[in-house]
């Protein structure tokens, strides 16, 4: 550990945000900028019979109105991941048009866009666009979508399946093991659909400069380079080197801002049509209708145990909604980000998961914080807790019994799962032990028993999670259907004065990269943090990048930067050796200088930097300059893990669940900045509690989302949540230079089942064995009455 790494260094990005001086996309105003409003379908499934824009065109301030009948109607956004059917049939990938001209497939699908001088004028004119629809029957539930006679989302195919998929051991073998198991626990439930809800709505400005024949797209994305690539090469067919994508301050993402959305491409196209900059900012209702949602799995599962409570087999069948089209990463979420985690932290010898992924008449579903891994964890952690109750075991004991023994991935090999992955390093006992200590388990059980005597319902719930992060080794994901590599780029430019500019392809939308990256760069070079600047979010500045999601920024992006620093130190040593008239092997680098071992002869990093740019007295044949860019492609995923414990009190009159305590003991590998890691855990945990208790996207029969506003969609507020008690163990990642595993999603992955387990525990003596999320007072009350 150096001077900065491992310390709770305060964030340098905070000053601008706290003064209201951040630059979010909607804050940007360009000269002559036009504004837009969409005409969106009020129906989930309909034929568009006609679109009449004549009257609207004459409204004041209108510059243009486009529909799918214009040239933009030929374009569509692609999917970034291909998962073919088990029988070899290619994944069904429908065209996803920028504007729809004939068929509506979800509420909010855009049929026209009005471009006007002001936002009000655009909105007024959009009201005047007349669209004739013929409403059709819709299906929003993924299981119902596969029933015979279900309305078809895309009628070129005979049913609604986009693909099906399976992973693990041979199904017959797993079924046989379940047949002969001592005990089998079964569950059927829905891991319901939720809305990511970054507080900043999506916002885009496209600016085409006719003289330079270049575009600038300002966009609230987690992923500027990938957006540029998709936009140029796949959607509009415009040259990539003519487009600059800028994504500076972004107000939260949680997955929903990874994807390439139709609006981004449409605005880019319009800007050239009208020769002016053009802006669109989503309002919240539009966000609910058009931002990718998360989860939405219908699950049926069986887990078999021997008489000692050891898992012998696990079989699950799921229907996982894709929505109306295939969003950028959608096919990967219920498959490679989900099924590959079915080993959990247990030694389960036989596993089989079968997935059917149907289209539904809803907005697309894609990765939402955790992406497939929260769904896997929810299943494993609920079913093992349910099994413990059924077999009269303690929920901690059954976990200890089934844990994979500790391994460091260096002396002991990584753990090969039944579901394709090899875990890097882990100590699953350790985090549960620590969690139990934090809880004071024995005392809690006594308190619980006593409380019951007074009619007070207390419960505790556990969750021992693991996740696959640091996404991802390119060749591996390529073999699994990814249409992109998932490496990262880190460019380190040492200025002649020894100041350092770092350019990263990772993207910060709240994670604090400007601070954390500077911490390890400064330490590695032995210089001050003030001498290091971190740049991100501008494709003209940064060579390339794959953005931020899947807890990958440090594990992959950080490693790329370290690679470049290594190159700098290697070249610097040559220059230092020349200046010190010593052999390179005799030098050591520490505290910002090269020293001849055993002497006081040294030269500073700053002097070497200056020499590199003023190479008068310089090693022969060596290029001037100190500037390196590196691509880092990880050799494996990283596997953070942890124990989450929830203590709840259920109101016996109303059924309201109150989270009394929440304990998170996580292991995210080495920690660069504990303050930031804790912050990531807090936020994730609360999102997970939100799904467990409050949040759900609800559709009516016709496919309308009936709670599409902040008045109706229940996100956690400050008074729904207790303080989060955090601690951690540290099991370094053995395969990346910083030893980090990633912390962005952990909170959201571990917390949900812990809360639901706690509710079931509180009600267990009433005979309650399961309860559907979100665990609303009504559901609890009903469960108590039965």
């Amino acid at each position: 550990m150096g001077k900065f790494v491992g310390k709770a260094v305060k964030r340098r990005e905070d000053a601008r945000f706290l003064k209201g001086a951040g630059t979010y996309t909607d804050d940007i105003k360009l000269p002559k900028m036009a504004h837009t409003a969409f005409v969106r379908s009020p129906y989930a499934h309909a034929n568009v019979l006609s679109i009449d824009i004549e009257e609207a065109k004459n409204e004041p301030g209108v510059i243009a109105i486009y529909t799918g009948n214009d040239a933009c109607g030929e374009f569509g956004v692609p999917c970034g991941w291909q998962v073919d059917f088990k029988n070899g049939e290619t994944m069904r990938e429908p065209a996803h048009p920028l504007l729809t001209k004939d068929k509506i497939r979800h509420v909010g699908e855009a049929v026209a866009i009005v471009v006007a001088e002001t936002l009000e004028q655009a909105r007024d004119a959009a009201e005047m666009v007349m669209v004739d629809y013929e409403e059709l029957l819709a299906v929003t539930d993924p299981k119902q979508a596969m029933e015979a006679g279900a309305p078809l989302v895309h009628d070129q195919w005979e049913d609604n399946a986009a693909f099906d998929w399976c992973i693990g051991n041979d199904r017959a073998e797993v079924e046989a093991a379940l047949e002969s198991a001592h005990h089998v626990t079964e569950m059927e439930y829905r891991n319901h659909r939720v809305a990511p809800n970054a507080i900043e709505p999506r916002s885009y400005i496209a600016d085409y400069d006719v003289n330079a024949d270049k575009w600038t797209l300002y966009t609230s994305t987690q992923n500027p380079h990938l957006i540029r690539l998709l936009l140029c090469a796949f959607v509009l067919g415009i040259p990539e080197h003519k487009v600059r994508v800028v994504s500076k301050d972004v107000g939260g993402g949680f997955g929903s801002k990874i994807y390439h959305y139709t609006e981004e491409a449409l605005l880019t196209w319009i800007s050239r049509e009208i020769g002016r900059p053009v802006k669109w900012t989503s309002d919240r209702s539009e966000a609910f209708m058009t931002d990718a949602h998360g989860r939405d799995h219908v699950v049926k599962s069986k887990m078999g145990f021997d008489k000692d409570g050891k898992i012998v087999a696990h079989l699950t069948d799921e229907y996982c909604a894709m929505g109306a089209y295939l969003s950028t990463f959608a096919p990967a979420v219920p498959t490679y980000l989900h099924g590959t985690l079915f080993q959990g932290v247990y030694t389960t010898p036989l596993i089989h998961l079968n997935v059917i992924a149907p289209f539904t008449h809803t907005v697309v579903v894609d990765a939402y914080r955790g992406a497939g891994r929260p769904e896997a964890t929810y299943l494993l952690e609920r079913i093992i807790s349910k099994a413990a109750k059924e077999m009269g075991m303690d929920p901690a004991e059954i976990r200890f019994k089934n844990f994979i023994p500790p391994f460091d991935g260096v002396e002991e090999a990584g753990y090969q799962t039944q579901v394709a992955l090899q875990y890097d390093s882990g100590d699953y006992h350790g985090v549960l032990e620590r969690g139990l200590e934090m809880l004071g388990y024995e005392d809690f059980r006594k308190e619980q028993a006593k409380a019951r005597e007074y009619g007070k319902l207390l419960g505790v719930g556990f969750s021992s999670y693991i996740e696959g992060c640091g996404i991802a080794p390119s060749a591996v994901v390529g073999a699994l259907g990814a249409r992109a590599g998932l490496y990262e780029v880190g460019h380190v430019r040492v200025q002649p004065t020894g100041k350092v500019s770092v350019f990263t392809g990772a993207h910060s939308h709240g994670q604090g990269h400007e601070t954390v990256f500077a911490q390890f760069v400064a330490d590695k070079l032995g210089i001050e943090m003030d001498d290091v600047e971190i740049e991100h979010g501008d494709t003209d500045q940064v060579a390339f990048g794959m953005g931020t999601y899947g807890s990958r920024s440090l594990a992959v992006g950080g490693s790329a930067i370290i690679k470049s620093i290594d190159k700098i130190l290697e070249k610097g040593a040559k220059i230092a050796a020349h200046k010190l008239e010593a052999a390179e092997e005799d030098l050591e680098y520490a505290e910002g200088k090269w020293t001849v071992k055993g002497t006081d002869k040294s030269i500073s990093f700053g002097d070497v930097s200056l020499t590199a740019y003023v190479p008068h007295d310089y090693p022969e044949g060596l290029e001037p300059g100190l500037d390196f860019s590196s691509f880092y492609d990880p050799s494996n995923f990283t596997y953070p893990f942890g124990t989450h414990i929830a203590v709840v009190e259920v109101d016996s009159d109303t059924g309201k669940v109150d989270v009394k305590r929440f304990i998170a003991c996580d292991d995210v590998g080495n920690v660069m900045n504990p303050m930031i890691v804790d912050g990531q855990i807090h936020g994730g945990v609360v999102q997970g509690i939100g799904q467990a208790l409050l949040e759900e996207v609800v559709f009516d029969e016709a496919g309308q989302m009936i709670n599409a506003s902040y008045m109706d969609y229940a996100m956690p507020r400050a008074d729904d949540i207790p303080m989060i008690e955090t601690d951690r163990t540290v099991t370094p990642c053995p395969h990346n230079p910083l030893g980090v595993k990633g912390a962005g999603e952990a909170g959201c992955i571990g917390s949900t089942p812990a809360v639901v387990n706690a509710v079931v525990d509180a009600l267990a003596h009433l005979g309650v064995t399961d309860i559907q999320m979100p665990v609303t007072p009504q559901r609890v009350w009903k469960a108590m009455q039965n």
Partner: protein, 154 residues
């Protein structure tokens, strides 16, 4: 319509459309983009400002309703380069991540502490009820406000 009001100690007079919201006025006319918009149903609090000493959600007011008023926005909280104790506490205790809810949180915190200089955790949480944060889980926001209260009281 002509309106005249004081924002962060400076007087402005503008001719605006009657239907313009106070948020839009601040963001579009005065270029004070620190006041954010997170929703359209007054549910998120990102747009919170102080009007005549009380915290209001500027998205639910028309600019004309603020005519003659005295406003403070997030841009007016610091004293030159010296941040307000609440701003300092947010930085010190990591009360923000993406920063989008932050201006509203700071303005609401100021309102909580104005009415109750020594709030309990519960009172702080209750006072933040109208503000969404999707990043921090509120933990460090509550902590920041507790520390700001101490700082201001000392």
């Amino acid at each position: 319509m002509q309106i005249t009001l004081t924002v962060n100690g400076k007087q402005y007079s503008n001719d605006i459309e009657p239907r313009m919201s106070l948020t839009q006025y601040l963001r579009e006319v005065l270029d004070l983009t620190g006041t954010h918009v997170g929703c359209d149903t007054s549910g998120c609090g990102a747009c919170t400002v102080s009007l005549n000493g009380a915290a209001v959600k500027s998205c639910t007011l028309l600019a004309v309703q603020a005519d003659g008023g005295e406003l403070t926005t997030i841009e007016g909280m610091a004293n030159g380069n010296e941040m307000h104790p609440i701003q300092k506490a947010f930085k010190e205790h990591h009360g923000l991540q993406c920063g989008f809810c932050t201006p509203g949180m700071v303005m609401t915190a100021a309102n909580i502490l104005k009415d109750n200089p020594n709030p309990s955790e519960e009172e702080i949480r209750h006072g933040l009820e109208g503000n969404f944060c999707r990043c921090t889980g509120y933990h460090n926001i509550v902590k920041s406000i507790q520390h700001a209260a101490e700082e201001i009281n000392n």
